[in-house]
């Protein structure tokens, strides 16, 4: 997936002179996860450069550049470090078009790795998507595979409003179904790792059904898509697994069509439970598919605690927890 993200950058930097890429360790070194490797060498220091360690400075400057007419695509080294930039994201980027009635806009993309699974403890594992989905004016994206990562990142950079682009770091180097004790699988053996060269895009706001099914709908995104598929496989339940891809704007139609058919629903995410994006999904499903629901919607998520270092695999909402929920929901 790292290669796909690099590709998306390169494609857009090639097509559009106004695309500039910067962040901590992003220039010469190519990013701690190597997602911008080679860009500075290829496009020069004026198009891809290192910044001081100042998330608010990175995003604040990006807002000014975007207002000017550039299309900055910036990296926050870990999503856990986005908080110093949160004011610039929430109060500025997200509201600039609105408050100026379109006089100024903020077409910028803010990429950040999310999620656990690398023993990163509480400050390298967070999934703060709900802190973005609550903010009017932000588009929030989380791909689950290389094909989508490239296509969605291209869409994000082309979008005329700010996009938060969340990259599940556990997927950078291979799909991950939550079974941490089995060996790593490389992307090359996954069907969605086939990434076309050059320009293509995956539209923002459209979900994908990763597995059609008739008994229960599982809504997931990012890493949890793979984990959910593993759980479905384990249980043998005929579940329909939806990969949201974009959280805001949400592809509600795909969700409601599915739940209307299955009558059951599970929402899965790695972020903490309370006020997580799963709460919104649950609220929407019960609102729009109330009379189809045969069982309460279940949420399988991270616990309401910080991400604990060595307890990582006791914390992670793995296939067993999802499987249990599937069975509970099917028996309800």
């Amino acid at each position: 997936m790292v290669q796909a993200i690099r590709d998306a950058h390169a494609v857009m930097m090639e097509r559009d002179e106004s695309v500039v890429v910067f962040g901590e360790d992003v220039g010469y070194f190519g990013g701690v996860f190597r997602c911008t490797q080679g860009l500075q060498q290829r496009f020069g220091e004026n198009r891809c450069f290192d910044t001081p360690i100042t998330e608010s400075g990175i995003v604040g400057a990006a807002v000014g550049m975007a207002a000017y007419g550039l299309r900055p695509c910036v990296e926050i080294q870990f999503a856990d470090y986005m908080y110093p930039a949160y004011d610039q994201i929430v109060s500025e980027a997200a509201r600039l078009r609105y408050r100026s009635a379109g006089d100024f806009t903020a077409p910028l993309t803010i990429r950040m790795p999310v999620g656990g699974g690398i023993f990163g403890g509480q400050t390298h594992s967070q999934s703060p998507e709900a802190l973005f989905t609550h903010v009017a004016g932000l588009t929030t994206v989380m791909p689950s595979n290389p094909y989508d990562a490239k296509g969605l990142l291209i869409s994000a950079i082309e979008d005329d409003d700010p996009v938060i682009f969340l990259e599940p770091k556990r997927l950078y180097n291979g799909p991950f179904d939550g079974r941490h004790d089995t060996g790593l699988m490389p992307w090359s053996r996954h069907e969605l790792s086939d990434v076309p060269e050059g320009y293509y895009h995956v539209p923002l706001g459209s979900a994908a059904i990763r597995r059609p099914g008739s008994d229960v709908t599982v809504i997931a995104y990012g890493t949890m898509v793979h984990v959910a598929l593993a759980a479905v496989h384990d249980t043998g339940v005929d579940a329909e697994v939806i990969d949201l891809r974009t959280l805001i704007p949400l592809d509600l139609t795909t969700i409601i069509d599915s739940v209307s058919k299955t009558g059951r629903c599970i929402v899965v995410h790695e972020a903490t439970l309370t006020s997580g994006f799963g709460a919104e999904l649950t609220a929407l499903v019960q609102q729009h598919a109330f009379y189809h629901l045969a069982a309460p919607i279940e949420r399988v998520t991270g616990y309401d605690t910080p991400y604990p270092h060595s307890h990582e695999w006791s914390y992670f909402p793995g296939p067993e927890r999802i499987a249990k929920a599937l069975i509970r929901v099917m028996q309800a």
């Binding site: 608010s56 604040g60 207002a67 004011d87 078009r97 009017a136």
Partner: protein
């Protein structure tokens, strides 16, 4: 600027007393007689004017001096005198007078509930008006709520400013923003945020974009003394210093941040301009009530930025003569006559005095200007009010609530709009 009470009284004591905190505050509180005779006013003309390409280290004394051109009698002197011709100066005077009259009228309208809120810049007009006159088209300001003078001096239609204040039918911001939170890209005026300091680093970003594109346009960021404590002030200095961005970083030190004196934000530093020193940024401290000094310093900094000399931090020393806003009553926290005691005078009076003394204008000219600005404001007001005021007459449609959140309205929002039924 005003003597920080506790600081002076305690000094840096080397006695073996255990630490206690300094609690800075203003020199005077209600009941005190404001006496600024201890304030060093510096002699007009005394400060050196470096070449625009001089390295910042070589001019660090300017961060604690005070660039002045006009003396109390209206005489101009020294190397910072921009030697503007009389018509230019009269235009500057007009812009300041127009700004003040505009403020006066809007404040009345606010009191009459035609607007929800208002903020004056009384006493600070020279800063924005003279600064604007030193910029070029294509430059961009990232202002606070107290730089309306930039718009007035730029010739932005007064009736549009008023429509914004009234949130009426022709409000360019469609009723979405509080009064005075203007946005006017074509006039070099960035959309104002209510969150202090965020714009300061955005201006650096804009300047970086100019330079990345090889353009010679520049940006100017604005901030108040109080808001320099906000973290984005620092982000701006860091980014400007790292990339040597073509930006002017303006700090308007009007002595007050609502009820809090500038000494609280300034701390142990002698001035706000001194902040720039730690970043290798050229830093000036300038008499902000002196139209000529403002123009001179702004032109210097703009040329420095345009010729790849990098950022300049400028502290404009002035005094917030009016209340913080229409919601504020300063009598609770400062002496009522403090503005009058302020030793740097009033910028409009000072430029008027200069024009009269140098023959750039006579009493009749000034009187004519006075009448003209009243007329202009009145005419704009009639025009703007014909499109409504906050609670009366035409107003933007409530559908404006849902527009411009995104370029294209997502279905979720469209359905909220339908439900609202507006």
């Amino acid at each position: 600027m005003a003597r920080a009470k506790s600081r002076d009284e305690e000094g840096v004591s080397g006695s073996s007393v255990s630490p206690r905190l300094t609690m800075p505050g203003p020199a005077f509180r209600p009941g005190d007689r404001p006496d600024f005779s201890e304030v060093d006013t510096f002699a007009p003309g005394a400060c050196r004017r470096p070449q625009v390409n001089e390295p910042a280290e070589s001019m660090s004394e300017l961060a604690t001096g005070l660039v002045r051109v006009l003396d109390d009698e209206g005489r101009a002197s020294g190397p910072w005198d921009p030697h503007l011709d009389a018509p230019t100066l009269r235009a500057g005077l007009r812009a300041m007078m127009l700004t003040r009259e505009f403020d006066r009228q809007m404040m009345i309208d606010q009191r009459q509930s035609k607007a929800s809120f208002y903020m004056q810049c009384t006493g600070e007009e020279a800063i924005a008006c003279a600064f604007h006159s030193a910029l070029r088209p294509g430059d961009m300001n990232f202002p606070t709520y107290r730089q309306q003078g930039l718009l007035v001096a730029a010739g932005y239609p007064l009736e549009l400013m008023m429509s914004q204040v009234y949130s009426n039918e022709t409000d360019p911001l469609r009723g979405r923003q509080m009064p005075v939170f203007y946005s006017a890209r074509e006039y070099g005026f960035f959309s104002i945020s209510g969150n202090l300091a965020t714009q300061f680093v955005q201006g650096v970003g804009w300047a970086m974009a100019c330079a990345l594109r090889g353009e010679s346009s520049i940006a100017a960021s604005w901030i108040g003394d109080g808001a320099t404590s906000e973290t984005d002030f620092f982000s701006a200095l860091v980014m400007a210093s790292t990339y040597r961005a073509p930006v002017i970083l303006n700090v308007v030190n009007n002595q007050w941040a609502i009820s809090t004196s500038e000494s609280v934000a300034r701390g142990l530093a002698p001035t706000f301009a001194a902040r720039g020193r730690g970043f290798g940024i050229a830093s000036l401290r300038v008499d902000g009530n002196d139209y000529l000094a403002v123009h001179g310093a702004a032109a210097w900094a703009a040329e420095r930025a345009r010729t790849n000399g990098g950022p300049t931090l400028i502290e404009w020393v002035t005094y917030r003569a009016a209340a913080h806003s229409s919601s504020d009553d300063p009598s609770g926290y400062r002496p009522g006559d403090e503005a009058a005691a302020w030793p740097f005078g009033d910028p409009i009076e000072r430029l008027t005095r200069h024009l009269l003394r140098t023959g750039g204008a006579n009493e009749a000219d000034v009187e004519a200007l006075r009448e003209e600005v009243v007329r202009d404001v009145r005419a704009a007001q009639v025009e703007a009010q014909s499109h409504g005021t906050l609670k009366q007459g035409p107003a933007p449609s409530p559908r404006e609530i849902f527009e411009d959140v995104f370029k294209e309205m997502p279905e979720s929002l469209a359905s909220q709009e339908r439900e609202a039924g507006y």
